[in-house]
């Protein structure tokens, strides 16, 4: 596969991933992860391992499933009312790693609003770099790891009940 063709198919995959999140199709989103899939939001952007320091999120597939099932329940208070989100992707760069893994990096922007929530609670923006490790499966991919480095990962964030 030509490099640009790879980038195009990865772009299509990630854009469809972001559509699933914006549409609230969280189970379908979880299905994008392979069984060893990891979802990681480090505190420190230069961190190379989750084993030395706390992370905003470091979850295996099962813990991530628990996160998803909770968010799908319409009774949890931090999602009353539920967030609406709009996600953007830009500057995608792909490269092949060993073991047929593909690394994809892109700038990501998520805008979140909770309609009719406290008027003092403004629309929020989460910006950062997402780094995917993808496994090729047939014509598509599975996510081995999704890492998101927010530009404000070290700040004291208010509670976040969406996926980034």
């Amino acid at each position: 596969m030509q490099r640009s063709a790879l980038t195009e198919s990865v772009r299509e995959f990630i854009e469809s991933e972001l559509w699933l999140l914006d549409n609230g199709q969280l189970s379908e989103w979880l299905d994008l992860f392979d069984p060893q899939g990891i979802y990681w939001l480090p505190v420190n952007p230069s961190e190379t391992t989750p084993d030395r320091a706390p992370s905003l999120v470091y979850e295996s597939r099962l813990a991530l499933e628990a996160r998803i099932r909770r968010l799908e329940d319409s009774r949890i208070v931090p999602q009353l009312p539920a967030s609406r989100t709009c996600r953007f992707l830009s500057g995608l760069v792909c490269r092949a790693l060993e073991d047929s893994l593909i690394e994809a990096r892109a700038k990501c922007l998520t805008v979140e609003a909770r309609p009719l929530h406290d008027p003092a609670d403004p629309q929020r923006i989460f910006a950062g770099v997402s780094t995917y490790r993808l496994v090729r499966v047939g014509e598509s991919f599975k996510i081995r790891q999704k890492r998101v480095d927010l530009v404000n990962s070290e700040a004291g964030l208010h509670g976040v009940s969406i996926l980034l």
Binding site: A53, L56, Y58, A66, R70, G159, V160
Partner: protein
């Protein structure tokens, strides 16, 4: 002027304690300004000149290693025009140089250099060193500060039974020392700082506010029993226990508003970790002591009004009031020196799950704190702290873990401090 005595009853508290700006000012000067607060851990400032920023209430302070065996603390404020001396959270300095006019100060706070000093009247600058935090004391490597020149009690007397909670943490390190992890977690909420202290040892809210988290985790663990070892799933599941379970646990309260209760989350390590860890710990401290340490099962220790402690999961939180309706919680996770690295993985799982702004557990609490705050700001309500209260009788120091005696104890300390002129 608010009358503090009118805001607290034996079984209730007026909602304005969360929202009133005058009460917040009193809390900053009379409570936070005059009590022992955890400010840092010695491993954050190992070398002479190393410093870390911390807080006394809403005031920024610099905690600095002045000599190999002396740690001092200063308000992060240039005595010239009041600018912040240090902006980075931590670093190393040979002197403190103000970024505004270039006044500089030695590590002991004395004035070192003043630009255009000859233009000041004789002696004007000499006494204008950094304002020192009146008292700094350490307990087992933890650095505490007290803004009062004459603390109402020495640090160890203030800690009281909470010394056991700190001992429990440091004793777990075979090398008898801790090292702070190289990143801190922070979360914020638009609510009063007391809401955190009142929530963390509230065992009844867990099964309600976190019911969904517990249910979804239990469903996954039922399908895949090995998932119970995942600290995040364990934490979510632990909240679902029935009230009866918590009623049988003991909570200990102590003077000054502190409290802790017996563990409700599993404290045993998975067998593979336990074997290796026990060996290193017993090698350092002997079998009997290692047995005692690993059998110690306490849940959160609340060191009122500044920090909360979880020894088994190597996690300490600083609760920092920024405004009546804005609080930041900073979470420190510690490596047990000399212990197998597997103990760190277990601690990090709990730390992330209990303290991240993206936690599947505390996001429930944060949303509820903010709702309480909005009501407190707009209403004139008395709120209940009456669970376990027996009219006319003082609370025992040992109570069922479902009692709100620990909140009544916090308000007793709060009233006492705020009424001291």
């Amino acid at each position: 002027m608010v009358r503090i005595a009118d805001l607290v009853r034996p079984d209730g508290v007026h909602a304005s304690v969360y929202s009133d700006a005058a009460i917040f000012r009193l809390e900053m000067t009379r409570l936070f300004g005059r009590t022992w607060l955890l400010a840092a851990h010695h491993s954050q400032i190992p070398e002479v000149g190393d410093y870390v920023l911390s807080r006394i209430g809403d005031q920024s302070i610099i905690v600095v290693r002045q000599t190999s065996d002396r740690i001092g603390a200063f308000y992060n404020r240039c005595p010239h025009r009041g600018a912040r001396l240090k902006h980075a959270d931590s670093g190393s300095a040979t002197a403190f140089v103000c970024p505004y006019h270039g006044w500089s100060f030695q590590l002991d706070g004395a004035v070192r250099f003043v630009p255009a000093r000859e233009e000041y009247p004789a002696g004007h600058c000499d006494g204008r060193g950094l304002e020192r935090v009146a008292n700094v004391a350490t307990y087992r490597g933890f650095v505490f500060v007290n803004g009062s020149a004459s603390p109402s009690e020495p640090l160890e007397e203030f800690l009281g039974p909470m010394k056991d909670v700190i001992d429990d943490l440091v004793d777990r390190a075979p090398a008898d020392d801790l090292e702070i992890a190289p990143a801190l977690l922070r979360h914020r909420y638009r609510g009063n700082w007391k809401l955190t202290f009142e929530n963390l040892n509230d065992t009844i809210h867990a099964g309600v506010a976190h019911a969904v988290a517990a249910r979804v985790a239990d469903a996954i663990i039922a399908r895949e029993p090995a998932a119970a070892q995942d600290p995040m799933l364990g934490l979510m599941s632990a909240n679902g226990k029935p009230v009866k379970f918590f009623q049988q646990l003991r909570m200990t309260t102590s003077p000054h508003g502190h409290s802790y209760f017996e563990a409700h989350m599993p404290t045993a390590y998975p067998p593979a970790i336990h074997r290796e860890y026990f060996e290193t710990l017993a090698g350092a401290r002997g079998n009997a002591e290692a047995d005692r340490i690993l059998a110690t099962a306490r849940h959160l220790g609340l060191l009122y009004p500044g920090s909360t402690w979880h020894a088994r999961y190597q996690t300490v939180r600083l609760v920092q009031p920024l405004a009546p309706d804005l609080t930041e919680v900073i979470t420190l996770c510690f490596r047990l020196k000399g212990a197998p690295e597997s103990t760190m993985a277990s601690a990090l799982g709990y730390c992330n799950g209990s303290s991240s702004p993206l936690s599947s557990v505390i996001t429930d609490d944060l949303e509820i704190y903010e709702a309480i705050q909005r009501n407190a700001t707009s209403g004139d309500a008395w709120l209940s702290i009456g669970r376990g209260y027996r009219p006319g009788q003082p609370d025992d120091r040992q109570v069922a873990a479902t009692s709100e005696a620990y909140i009544r104890g916090q308000y007793a300390a709060w009233q006492h401090r705020l009424q001291e002129a």
